[in-house]
C-alpha cells in the first residue's frame, strides 16, 4: 500500500518510466528515452563543444525538465537562488560524473531503462552504482562536505532557465550556424511536453536516482527508493507491451563488465558528493541553486571533453583513454572527498 506522502515520488517514477520507454517508440535512440547524461552530451554537441553531428541536438526533454521545474518552483515558492558551496569543485566532480556515465553509456536513468529492456550489462552498472553510492556515503559519514551555500539575488537563479529558453528557441528556429542531427529523436513537441511534465513532478517530489540508495544507507529512509523502483517497474511493463523487452545484448551498450562497473561507480561517488544524480542536478539548478548549476555546466563540458579526447565508450567497448580518465576520476574524487570538511 502506498502511503499518501509517497504518492508524488511514485507518480514521478511511473511517468518517467512510461514516457521514458515510450519516447523510444516515438523516435528517440534505443533505451535512451530520457537519459540525462546522453542528452546533456547532445546539448554539448549542439553548443559546438564536440563535433559528433549525430550526437548534437538541443534535446527538448532536457530543456523541458529545466523549464517545468523552474515554473513550478516559481509558483510554489521553492525558487530560492543560492550558491557558494565549493562551485569549482562541484564543476570538476560533475565533469567526472559525466565521463563515468559515458564510459558506461548512460546515466542512472538510462541504466534503469536498459535494465527494464533486459540488458544484463546494466545489472553490472547497477552494482557499480551501488558500490559508488556506498563509498560516497562513507565519505559523508566521515564528515565530507562542500560547505554551506548562501542566498543570492534572484538573477543568479534566472541565468540557467534563460539559457534554456535560448536553446529552446534555437531548436525551434534551427538556424544554419547550429549543427544538429535531424535523426534519432522524437517529435519536438512530444519531447518537450514529457520534459515539462517530468521536470515539474520531479521538482515537487525531489525525485533522485542515487538519493534513495544514499538515504537508505545512511538513515534507512525509503522515500526516494520508491520512486526508483516505480520507474523501473513501469518502464519494464511498457517495454513488455511495446515489444522492447529482450534478454541479452542491447544497442548503444557494451559488454565489458569491468568498465560498466567502474563507469557507474564513478557516477555513484560523484553524484553523492554533489548531492544528487544528473537529473536532480538539473532540477535543483532550475530552483535557483547555482551550485547545482555548476554541476550541470561541468557535465556539459565533461561531455564535450569525453567525445573530443576519446573518453566515451562505444558499443564495441571502452576506449583506453576513458579507462585512464575513469581511474583518475575515482582517485581525484576520493582526494576531494577526504579533504573537504564543513568550514
Amino acid at each position: 500500500m502506498i502511503k499518501k506522502d509517497s504518492l508524488p515520488i511514485v507518480v514521478t517514477g511511473i511517468v518517467l518510466g512510461v514516457f521514458g520507454a515510450l519516447l523510444v517508440k516515438f523516435g528517440n535512440p534505443p533505451n535512451m528515452g530520457v537519459c540525462v547524461a546522453c542528452f546533456l552530451r547532445d546539448v554539448a554537441g549542439a553548443l559546438g563543444l564536440h563535433h559528433v553531428e549525430k550526437l548534437s541536438y538541443f534535446r527538448p526533454e532536457i530543456l523541458g525538465f529545466t523549464l517545468g521545474a523552474f515554473l513550478i518552483a516559481l509558483i510554489t515558492g521553492d525558487f530560492k537562488p543560492s550558491g557558494g558551496s565549493s562551485p569549482i569543485l562541484r564543476f570538476v566532480t560533475s565533469a567526472f560524473v559525466m565521463i563515468g556515465a559515458l564510459v558506461f553509456l548512460g546515466c542512472p536513468v538510462r541504466m534503469v531503462l536498459r535494465l527494464a529492456a533486459g540488458d544484463p550489462t546494466a545489472i553490472v552498472g547497477f552494482v557499480g552504482l551501488i558500490a559508488g553510492v556506498l563509498v560516497g556515503a562513507i565519505l559523508l559519514k566521515q564528515g565530507f562536505s562542500f560547505g554551506r551555500t548562501r542566498k543570492l539575488s534572484k538573477w543568479n537563479g534566472y541565468v540557467y532557465p534563460i539559457l534554456t529558453m535560448g536553446m529552446l528557441a534555437l531548436v525551434i528556429i534551427k538556424p544554419d550556424f547550429v549543427h544538429m542531427t535531424t535523426k534519432g529523436h522524437a517529435p519536438l513537441w512530444i519531447s518537450l511536453a514529457v520534459g515539462l511534465a517530468v521536470g515539474a513532478l520531479a521538482q515537487r517530489s525531489r525525485f533522485c536516482m542515487v538519493g534513495g540508495f544514499r538515504n537508505y544507507t545512511l538513515v534507512r529512509d525509503t522515500y526516494l527508493l520508491q520512486g526508483f523502483f516505480a520507474f523501473l517497474i513501469s518502464a519494464f511493463i511498457i517495454n513488455l507491451f511495446i515489444g522492447n523487452f529482450s534478454w541479452g545484448a542491447h544497442p548503444i551498450a557494451h559488454t565489458n563488465i569491468l568498465w560498466n562497473f567502474m563507469g557507474m561507480a564513478l557516477v555513484g561517488i560523484g553524484s553523492v558528493m554533489v548531492g544528487g544524480c544528473p537529473l536532480r542536478q538539473l532540477i535543483l539548478t532550475s530552483e535557483g541553486n547555482t551550485d547545482s548549476g555548476m554541476s550541470v555546466l561541468g557535465m556539459i563540458v565533461g561531455a564535450g571533453l569525453a567525445h573530443n579526447y576519446l573518453l566515451a565508450a562505444t558499443p564495441k567497448g571502452p576506449h583506453f583513454n576513458g579507462e585512464i580518465a575513469t581511474i583518475a576520476g575515482i582517485v581525484l574524487l576520493l582526494i576531494i572527498g577526504t579533504t573537504n570538511r564543513e568550514i
Binding site: K80, S82, L140, K141, T149, L218, V219, D221, G276
Partner: protein
C-alpha cells in the same frame, strides 16, 4: 532545554545527518533544527517521525524551524 542544530545552507543529506547526531547525543532535551529549504525540512521531519518523535514546523523569514520532541 532545547538543543539547536543549524543546518542552514545545506541540501540533502547533511541536515538529516546532523539531526541524527543530535538525536543520538540528546537526553530528554528537545531539538530545534534550522533549515532554509523545503527539501531539508521534509527530510528532517520524515526522519524524526521515523524515530518516533513528535515534529512541529514553523516558517520564519523564509527559514524553517523544525521542532523535535522525543
Amino acid at each position: 532545554m532545547t538543543v539547536e542544530v543549524d543546518a542552514r545552507g545545506f541540501g540533502c543529506p547533511q541536515p538529516i545527518l546532523k539531526t541524527k547526531e543530535a538525536l543520538e547525543k540528546a537526553g530528554d532535551e528537545d531539538i530545534k533544527v534550522l533549515v532554509d529549504n523545503s527539501t531539508a525540512r521534509n527530510n528532517v521531519k520524515r526522519f524524526a517521525e521515523s524515530q518516533g518523535c513528535q515534529v512541529f514546523v514553523e516558517e520564519i523569514d523564509e527559514e524553517f524551524h523544525v521542532m523535535i520532541k522525543k
